[in-house]
């Protein structure tokens, strides 16, 4: 059980980091980006293809990161160009269209056959009391915490962070103060796209996953972001890690094993029913 939970931290760290991307995107560019993980899929498959063609891993991974960043920047540009004034609902609906299209593009570009994913973090790190901590679990957990801390520092301590916060809270006022909204929006897309690809580079080799199931990691990531209410970075990390640990632990209960992927949904439901128990109206007045 405990071993399962620890092993689940690899996935949990990934959920946390991807959830952070979602939270940052929602806070700063007003979109729940359903295509967030699909962007990472483009990156990790680019890496796999190039590695198959004999590129050294480091170079292939770099190219993959670049591909995901570019892809995200293009999508961010489209969003800013045509939907700059749209509300979060509409922007999120567009990101669903992005997801469907990106997956199709990924099938077209990389084929539907399963690929061998070269990776760096396959082995175990340490073994304490018969409980093995894998490298992937350690990297993902530490990585997600580092990303959260980094994002918090940037947002609260730098001019860029100040501008981003201004843009998210009062977009029109921010633009009147000559803050370039569209450029910053594209930057946010690019950075979170890069981050998603980096997460998948670590996690994809650990599981035999096709593009679709990788892209649907958006669901546990969304659950993690919901724990933080799409606002709090710390709670998002906690939510992601908790969810991963829970899933890992359930994998060791044989009756429930095949249903463990329903955990994100049940978690989403429970969180929402709790956090939204008070009556809220659609607008303040």
């Amino acid at each position: 059980m405990v071993e399962g939970a620890i092993a689940g931290l690899a996935g949990g760290g990934a959920y946390a980091a991807l959830g952070l991307c979602l939270t940052l995107m929602f806070r700063l560019v007003r979109v729940v980006n359903f295509a967030q993980v699909a962007i990472g899929v483009i990156g990790v498959y680019t890496m796999a293809i190039l590695a198959e063609h004999g590129w050294p891993y480091g170079l292939a991974a770099l190219a993959g990161l670049l591909a995901a960043t570019l892809c995200a920047a293009v999508l961010g540009w489209v969003m800013g160009r045509w939907f700059g004034e749209a509300g979060p609902d509409q922007r999120s609906a567009i990101s669903i269209a992005f997801l469907v299209s990106l997956l199709a593009v990924s099938y077209l570009a990389f084929g539907t056959d399963p690929r061998r994913m070269p990776g760096q973090f396959g082995g175990s790190l340490i073994t304490v009391n018969d409980i093995t901590i894998t490298q992937a679990a350690a990297v993902c957990t530490a990585g997600s915490i580092a990303v959260a801390a980094g994002a918090w520092l940037v947002l609260t301590r730098t001019v860029l962070g100040l501008r981003l916060r201004a843009l998210s809270e009062r977009p029109t006022t921010a633009e009147l103060h000559a803050i370039p909204s569209r450029r910053l929006g594209v930057l946010m897309w690019a950075v979170t796209g890069l981050l998603s690809a980096a997460v998948l580079l670590v996690i994809a080799p650990q599981q035999t996953s096709d593009q679709t199931s990788l892209a649907l990691m958006i669901i546990p990531a969304g659950a993690a972001a919901l724990v933080g209410g799409f606002r709090s970075l710390g709670l998002t990390v906690a939510g992601g890690l908790g969810l991963g640990a829970l899933q890992g632990a359930l994998a060791h209960v044989s009756e429930l094993q095949q249903y463990r992927d329903t955990v994100p949904f049940l978690a989403i439901l429970a969180i929402l029913i709790w956090s939204q128990r008070r009556e809220v109206w659609d607008v303040a007045r």
Binding site: F26, V32, F34, V78, W82, F83, A86, G87, P88, D89, Q90, S92, A93, I94, I96, A97, F98, L99, V100, S101, L102, L103, A104, V105, Y107, L108, T212, L216, I218, I219, G222, A223, L226, F230, Q258, Y259, D261, T262, P264, F265, L266, I268, L269, L272, I273, Q276, R277, E279, V280, W281, D282, V283, R285
Partner: protein
């Protein structure tokens, strides 16, 4: 009595014509695909229902899986009623699942709800692939009755089912429930203020949407005979949503066209030697294009058709002397000790207010005086307001917004809150929240000089929408109407004309009016008494001339220095 409105038959009738022509013309080779298109169209009609209510559902095929599972199980049991009744049963069984998924929608909206539905789609996919569909292990095909055994017969059956469902959806769309869906999409506050439960509107939309999806699942089970989990994947649900956005599944033809796109576009690509995956790329681009235009393909067509027949604009409203404002005697609304705090700020402090029966009373005060907060507190939008409110001797404390409206307290909004998806007539009938005859509707419409019943709210200017909101409140025959700045957006002459009309309201429609306004000319003209609110406290009350002459009122409006000179 009113004529029977049969416009809801128009689109289903045209769909029927298409089905009939297709049943004769489509070659055998394409029949299977055409039937699949109809199955998708049925599911899309369901998506259109939640779409009308402004909600995104990404788990339509999960509901379809429930329907298919039900049909497969009934087939294994050889239950009576043949495939036709089994399919309907499939729709019915899917409904509770729709309500279950709709429950989070009561508190959540927009994107958060989309995350929930996507989570459900994934969870359902896991469950569906873990438990086999009934009969699959024993190779038991779903049996069709004799008369729909051939492919062509089954196509006609699917077509008829689509047409019947379309008729139902269009008919419900014309009822108050259907109007409530469109109203919820535009503004939940205004929907509740019109006496309609937001919860019921949302849940009914989800339930009916799931019903349609369940039917689609049952149809599919009958079509392919043996169903597997692959038929109900998450990505397929997402693609269905994207096509619904692109084609406009709120329209019968949009759903039909969407079904056609989903099935035939990949097939065309395949025949042209191009990868079928291009279809989803195309759908994604199409949806982005539709959203950038602000309308789906069908909605764009509908708008263009409407623009060809613009509704006539009503003549300008002339001032008509309505006489002197009536002075009521018997108290109707009694609010005592109303206090509302937002953090450290007291927006209302211990406000006592009595509105008599059969009068027009004014409520004025400078910006930030607490007028709109008072309206919100009276109408039930502020749940933690202290104090008591009673209407006609009945306590309203603790009642939710829509129950207060039903009890006879109607309000309008400062902002434009008339749902744009409706016609004038449909909005008035919806907001009346009771059965009104055509004559009654025309009477009120004419009384305020609103645009004709066939006009679309979307095409109206702000001033006409404000008047429409007032007309709707009157048509509901409440005991008290609270009008929150109804003249904002009206020209001066028009607001005076409105004042004259308001004077007549108590005698003609039996409702008292509490008029909140900045336009003092209008207040002087319309009101028998006025109450002045400043910084959350009542500072004066009485006849307009007397109150407006008081120095403390002038000071509240203009500041100390002006008042002293």
């Amino acid at each position: 009595m009113s004529r029977v409105d049969l416009t809801f038959v128009r689109q289903p009738a045209m769909a029927l014509a298409v089905v009939v022509v297709a049943a004769v013309a489509v070659p055998q080779y394409w029949l299977f695909l055409a039937t699949s298109a109809l199955v998708s169209a049925v599911a899309l009609l369901g998506l259109g229902i939640v779409g009308r209510a402004g909600m995104n559902s990404l788990c339509q095929l999960s509901f379809a899986a429930v329907g298919a599972w039900t049909v497969a199980q009934l087939n294994v049991w050889q239950a009576p009623g043949t495939l036709i009744l089994w399919t309907i049963a499939g729709g019915l069984v899917a409904m509770p699942f729709g309500i279950l998924i709709g429950l989070p929608a009561l508190r959540l909206r927009g994107v958060h709800l989309a995350v929930v539905t996507l989570g459900f789609a994934a969870a359902a996919a896991v469950v569906v692939s873990a438990v086999n569909f009934p009969g699959v292990d024993t190779y038991q095909q779903v049996l069709r009755p004799e008369f729909i055994a051939t492919d062509r017969q089954y196509f006609v059956y699917a077509g008829l089912l689509f047409v019947v469902l379309a008729l139902g959806v269009e008919w419900v769309g014309r009822t108050r429930m259907g109007a409530a869906w469109r109203a919820v999409r535009f503004s939940e506050r205004a929907t509740a203020a019109a006496g309609t439960s937001v919860a019921r509107a949302k849940l009914s939309a989800f339930a009916l949407s799931a019903f349609a999806a369940g039917l689609a699942g049952g149809l599919l089970a009958g079509q392919v005979g043996m169903i597997t989990a692959q038929n109900f994947g998450v990505i397929a649900s997402l693609a269905l949503f994207v096509v619904a956005v692109m084609a406009g599944s709120e329209y019968v033809f949009g759903a039909m066209f969407g079904g056609f796109l989903i099935m035939f576009v990949p097939e065309f690509f395949r025949r042209a030697g191009i990868s079928q995956d291009w279809a989803n790329v195309l759908f994604g681009v199409g949806a982005v294009q539709a959203l950038s235009q602000g309308s789906s393909i069908m909605e764009g067509l509908a708008r263009r058709l409407r623009a060809r027949r613009p509704a006539p604009t009503p003549p300008p409203r002339e001032p008509l002397d309505g006489g002197t404002p009536p002075l009521g005697t018997k108290p109707l609304l009694k609010a005592e000790g109303l206090t509302v705090r937002f953090g450290q700020v007291a927006a209302l402090q211990d406000v006592d207010l009595t509105v008599p029966e059969g009068t027009v009373m004014g409520l004025i005060g400078p910006n930030g005086a607490g007028k709109s907060t008072l309206t919100d507190a009276l109408s039930g939008f502020i749940r933690d307001a202290a104090g008591t409110v009673a209407l006609d001797g009945r306590s309203l404390d603790g009642l939710p917004v829509h129950r207060r409206a039903a009890a006879g307290l109607r309000r309008t909004f400062q902002q434009d809150r008339v749902p744009t998806g409706l016609t004038v007539g449909a909005y008035l009938r919806f907001a009346a929240h009771r059965t009104v005859t055509r004559d009654e509707l025309e009477d009120v419409r004419d009384f305020l000089g609103c645009p004709p019943a066939e006009a679309h709210v979307l095409d109206l200017d702000v001033g006409s929408r404000r008047l429409l909101e007032v007309a709707a409140a009157i048509l509901a025959r409440p005991k008290l109407i609270v009008l929150d700045e109804p003249a904002a957006g009206l020209a001066h002459a028009e607001s005076i004309a409105l004042a004259d009309r308001l004077i007549e309201v108590p005698a003609r429609f039996g409702a008292s009016v509490l008029l909140i306004e900045h336009d003092l000319d209008m207040v002087r003209r319309a009101c028998a008494t006025i109450v002045v609110l400043d910084a959350g406290v009542v500072i004066a009350a009485g006849p307009p001339a007397e109150v407006l002459a008081k120095p403390e009122v002038a000071r509240a409006y203009l500041g100390d220095e002006v008042a002293l000179t």
